[in-house]
Amino acid sequence: MHADALSLLLAKHGLELARHLRRLVRDDDVAADLLQDTFLLAHGALARLKAGSNERAWLYRIATNAALNHLRSLSREAAALERHARARDVTAPAWLDEDGPGAATGEADPRHAMVWARVAELPERQRVAFSLRASTACDYEEIARRMGGTADAARANVYQAMKTLRKEFR
C-alpha cells in the first residue's frame, strides 16, 4: 500500500504541478525531470508531513524550489560560458602581426584553428599562396614555381589574404 502512496500523490497533484513546472522552466524535458524529482522527494518526506497540513501547498513548495535551483544553476553555467568565450575572444594571433607568415604559425594558439577556418574560405589563389607561405615557409619564387605565375603575383596574393585576415582578427 505504501508503494502506491507515490501513485496517489501523482494522481491527485501531478497534472497541476506539471503545468506549474512547465511555466517556470519552459522546457518539457527539464520539467519532466523536475516533476519526477519533486514527487520522489515528496514521497521520501511524506512521513514528515504533519497530518492535516496542506499537501498541495507543500508539493508546490518542493516543485518551486526544484525549479529555482535549476534556473540558478543554469544562470551560473551561462556566466561561466560567457567568461570562457571572452577569454577565447579572437583579437589577433601574434603571427599575423609579423612581416608575413613564417614557420612560427602559433600552433599552440587556440585562435589558430579559427584563422585557418577563415583561410579555407579565401579565393583559391590567395588561399594556396597563403598556405604555402605560412605552413611551408616558401619564398615567393618558390610559390610562383609551384603555382605558376610570377613572384610578384604570389606576393600580391599573400598580401591580399593577410589583409583580409588582419581586418577580421584584429
Binding site: 496517489l8 491527485k12 497541476e16
Partner: protein
C-alpha cells in the same frame, strides 16, 4: 483560448505520464478522474479512459476513490483533470431533470461478459420505467439467474448512467443500492418512477 489551454494540459499530461512510467511502472493509457461535490445523491467520483467512462461511484472522499482506481487499474497512470467536464455537465443537467439520456460513451470492458450483457440490456430500460432482477435475467436469456443479475447490478462500474437504480425486487421492494437506498429513491422520484 480554450484550445491553448487544452494544448497546455496535453503537454503537462505527457509529463505526468512519464513520471508514472518512471517512478511507478504504470505505462498504460492515462485514466482521467474528477469529483462532483454536492450532488443530490452525495459525492461522486468519475473516471474515464480513451474508450469512455469507466467508473461512476458514490464515494466518501478523494483519497478513497483514487486508491480504488489504482487498485482496479494497476497498469494505468491516473490523473485528476478537466477531461471529464462534459460528463459532469451532463450529470448536472440530469440532476436538475433537464434530460434523462446521456451522450457520454461508457466503457464496460472491466466487467465479465455476462455482466456486460446484463448492463447493456439495462441501458434499454428508459427513465420513468423500472424492471426486476429476474426480468432482466430473462431478457438476456438466463431466466432464473436473478441472483447473478443482482450481482451484476452490485458490480455496476458506472452508476446512474447505467441505470441500476431502475431495478427492483420481484415483490416491488427497492432491493439494494451502492449509493444507499435514499439515493435510489431520490433518483426514481426524479425520473417519475416513484411518487
Amino acid at each position: 483560448m480554450n484550445t491553448t489551454i487544452a494544448a497546455e494540459d496535453r503537454a503537462a499530461s505527457r509529463l505526468v505520464q512519464r513520471a508514472f512510467e518512471r517512478l511507478t511502472g504504470r505505462g498504460g493509457k492515462m485514466l482521467h478522474y474528477a469529483l462532483m461535490d454536492d450532488t443530490p445523491v452525495g459525492l461522486l467520483g468519475l473516471a474515464a479512459g480513451p474508450a469512455g467512462l469507466r467508473r461512476l461511484d458514490f464515494i466518501e472522499d478523494e483519497d478513497q476513490f483514487v486508491a480504488r482506481l489504482l487498485r482496479l487499474f494497476p497498469d494505468q497512470p491516473v490523473e485528476r483533470s478537466s477531461a471529464l467536464d462534459p460528463v459532469r455537465r451532463e450529470l448536472e443537467g440530469y440532476f436538475k431533470g433537464k434530460h434523462f439520456i446521456f451522450e457520454a460513451p461508457v466503457d464496460l470492458s472491466a466487467a465479465t461478459p455476462f455482466q456486460q450483457q446484463v448492463l447493456r440490456e439495462l441501458t434499454k430500460v428508459p427513465a420513468g420505467k423500472v424492471t426486476t432482477y429476474s426480468r432482466l435475467a430473462a431478457r438476456v436469456g438466463r431466466p432464473g439467474a436473478a441472483r447473478a443479475a443482482g450481482n451484476a447490478m452490485h458490480n455496476n462500474p458506472v452508476a446512474i448512467i447505467v441505470p441500476c437504480h431502475r431495478v427492483l425486487r420481484g415483490d416491488g421492494s427497492l432491493g439494494g443500492y451502492g449509493g444507499g437506498l435514499p439515493a435510489k429513491q431520490w433518483l426514481l422520484r426524479l425520473e417519475g418512477a416513484l411518487l
